[in-house]
Assembly symmetry: C2
Homo-oligomer: 249 residues x 2
DNA sequence: GATGTGGTATTGTAATACAAATAGGTTTTG
DNA sequence: CAAAACCTATTTGTATTACAATACCACATC
């Protein structure tokens, strides 16, 4: 339990959820029964049961009387749930998860940008524009603020599609950008080349040119993917020769 | 409450969830407090609280002491959760939701098919092939079985991408196909033209031709979308002139 | 040996009591 | 009179106990 959360139930949810998603318990296998969890975690059965309900609602587990509570097949997990995404990110040693995240973005975001270019209202375009301006302002100095603005830029585009089924994709975007920041452990100046790439997308959206928006978004994502792949490759190489720790950042 | 569910908690979850998603309570507003719900639904506080935890885990609501439990902004809802999708479908008078579902499929599935064409293992291809054979067998006679096979066909393709973030899309596919079946209220023979369109996708997957898979999937979805749009337009027309019911199909 | 039957362990539901947090009003203070 | 500190009442959070419902397992019965 990293930091203390708002209430006991949330702590248990994150503890159990993290263990399940990171592969501590195989699908089909049962998690410890309620009383065992009560004793192990030092909380009442009320808390344990409410936590189990939360995890069940995310598709991770399923309880039946007498049979116990079993982990459901991974296909049934709500992989776009913010918590599930964060638990998955926590146990991503190899960077494989980050690769999947960016891959998914490549598949979805270009088309979403095209739809946004067709439909975005003026207020939505303004919001996207503001996010870009914030990126422009913070690029080169404040990495954290740049990250937040970057996430907002892409999230607002998902909203601007006018299709609610795109909103969960925002969770993937956030996780992807955060994880890639950690992996590429970039310096403030590294953000600068990203600004014109985003500007191209913004222009296409404002001009209501779907094709241009699609292509601009895709090339931006391909660029990001390339950088990530290179960084992962580098850390993998570094891990191979035991302990050289190339902390050139 | 359509049919009685496995336990009380699930009943409450579906009752409350349905009311929230269908717009019965606006985002930012509070739902009735726990004891009120206990009395209104005739269950204990234990059940109500566990139901609330479930809905909170799906992103619909958020509780704080004293402040009550409020409905979160719709952006935060897990729109790809099976339950949320079904509640949304239940309150789709205009067919607008069905249009959004198919739109989302058009944005995601072609790219997913391309990825599947690159990566699908032989066993995955076999599963997709079996689903298609089932479609071929049932087309023209058993509408229900055809629907199930159709869902399986598309779901297996999502799995074959090898990227877990695509699995929740399967929920959209299922809901979309079910809803479109209801709207177009088709006869068994209407399924027959769909078979060769799916076969084209299958062939492209087996031959590992991403571009072809992409295009075949897209044209299939465009075809389906056209039929749906026509059916919705027709029912809308029928509703406008009160009771003429132009049953020329 | 197959089938039915009951015991038993585990989750499901109810009820009660108290703790913690906080919105909103009340008092105190400048 | 305004603002800040402080109460208080209300609502969710947690603990405890008890019992109901269910499904697995072993035993008994035919």
């Amino acid at each position: 339990m990293s930091r203390t959360r708002r209430n006991l139930c949330e702590q248990v949810v994150h503890d159990l959820g993290g263990r399940i998603v990171s592969g501590g318990i195989d699908p089909g296998d049962a998690i410890p029964q309620e009383w065992t969890l009560c004793e192990r975690m030092g909380v009442s059965r009320t808390v344990i049961r409410e936590a189990i309900k939360s995890l069940a609602a995310k598709g991770l587990i399923e309880s039946r009387a007498k049979r116990g509570t079993i982990v459901r097949p991974t296909n049934d997990w709500n992989h776009l749930d913010p918590d599930v995404i964060s638990w998955r990110a926590r146990s991503d040693e190899s960077g494989q998860n980050l690769i999947r995240l960016t891959e998914f973005r490549q598949a979805v975001e270009p088309k979403a940008a095209a739809m946004a270019a067709e439909r975005a209202s003026t207020t939505e375009l303004e919001r996207i524009g503001e996010a870009w301006e914030e990126m422009d302002r913070t690029a080169g100095n404040d990495v954290e603020a740049f990250l937040a603005a970057d996430i907002r830029f892409h999230t607002e585009i998902m909203q601007a599609t006018g299709n609610p089924f795109f909103s969960p994709v925002a969770n993937v975007i956030g996780a992807s950008l955060e994880a890639s920041l950690r992996v590429t452990n970039c310096l403030p100046p590294d953000n600068i080349p990203s600004v014109p790439l985003h500007e191209k997308v913004l222009r296409a959206l404002v001009d209501h040119r779907p094709m241009a928006a699609h292509d601009a978004m895709l090339s931006m994502l391909l660029d990001a993917a390339k950088r990530i792949e290179r960084a992962i490759q580098k850390t993998a190489d570094a891990n191979e020769d035991h302990r050289s720790t190339p902390r050139d950042g």
